[in-house]
Amino acid sequence: MSVGDVAVAALLALGVGAALLSAVGLLATRDPYDQLHFTGPATVIAPVALAAAVLIEEPLSSAGIKSVLVAVVMVTTGPVLIHATARAARVRERGRWVVLSEELKRKEHPSSRSR
């Protein structure tokens, strides 16, 4: 087994593991807002890892480039989808997009900015 094969196996394991983690997390939680968090690893880590695995096996081929495109599409659209779904859930609960005054009382300031 070459170094490339080991890397491919590791990336495949990482990608599949992230997707399965998402599925288990979805099953473990009940609240839709919490469940949406668990779609994250599958849409961000898994496609990048799997595309990297394909790219190592077939660099600069149509397959490699297309899998990179798939990863780019998924990573860009994933957060948008999570946001849209969560917002839809909140609008559904309250009739419209609104932030309540009692919520605003708990407003936090990112003053301890370390970065």
Binding site: G40, P41, P79, I82, W97, L104, K107, R113
Partner: protein, 185 residues
């Protein structure tokens, strides 16, 4: 940037039915159209993965169609979007954040199944400086903040209260310090 100056100067007419647009001069519009055309043609070439003249001609035509569509959408002012290049800095810390958050989620699940620890995320209201504004720069800033906040799995952004400079986040594990979603910070 000249673009920003122009858009802030023109803000103020309350009767403007259409939203502010980011580009106004013919040169800017030409550059916008050509960029879209080049991106679409590049995508076409990547997808067909051939360099035959027929494919290039077909790709150029399809890309022209796509660029026309993009220009039409921009003209209507549906999606005013004028980001700043320096916002790209926010991307640097993303890989680390994503991996760390996923690791924390894994631990959370192990604790949940092992010791029955409940998983309870919560909403957080975070101050977001200079949130209001319909001009392309401000809208782009909010959109980029929403995206940046949503990439790492522990946090996502639901929306903003523009009048009161607040962003509504949801976190699975409340993090300290607060996640830094502002791209211009």
């Amino acid at each position: 940037m000249a673009r920003r100056k122009r858009s802030t100067r023109r803000r103020g007419s309350p009767l403007r039915r259409r939203q502010e647009r980011a580009l106004e001069t013919p040169l800017e519009r030409l550059v916008f159209g050509l960029t879209w055309w080049a991106i679409a043609l590049g995508l076409w070439m990547l997808l067909v993965f051939k360099t035959e003249p027929a494919e290039i001609v077909a790709g150029a035509l399809a890309a022209a169609l796509a660029a026309t569509g993009a220009e039409l959408v921009r003209l209507r002012g549906y999606a005013p979007f004028s980001p700043e290049l320096r916002w790209l800095r926010g991307l640097v810390r993303l890989p680390r954040d994503v991996l760390l958050d996923t690791w924390h989620m894994l631990l959370l699940l192990v604790l949940h199944f092992g010791r029955g620890q409940p998983i309870e995320g919560r909403f957080r209201i975070v101050h977001f400086e200079a949130c209001a504004g319909r001009d392309p720069r401000r809208q782009a800033r909010r959109a980029v903040a929403t995206w940046l906040g949503g990439v790492s799995p522990n946090t996502y952004v639901l929306g903003f209260d523009e009048q009161r400079d607040a962003a509504v986040l949801h976190q699975l594990v409340p993090s300290e310090p607060l996640p830094d979603i502002d791209p211009s910070a």
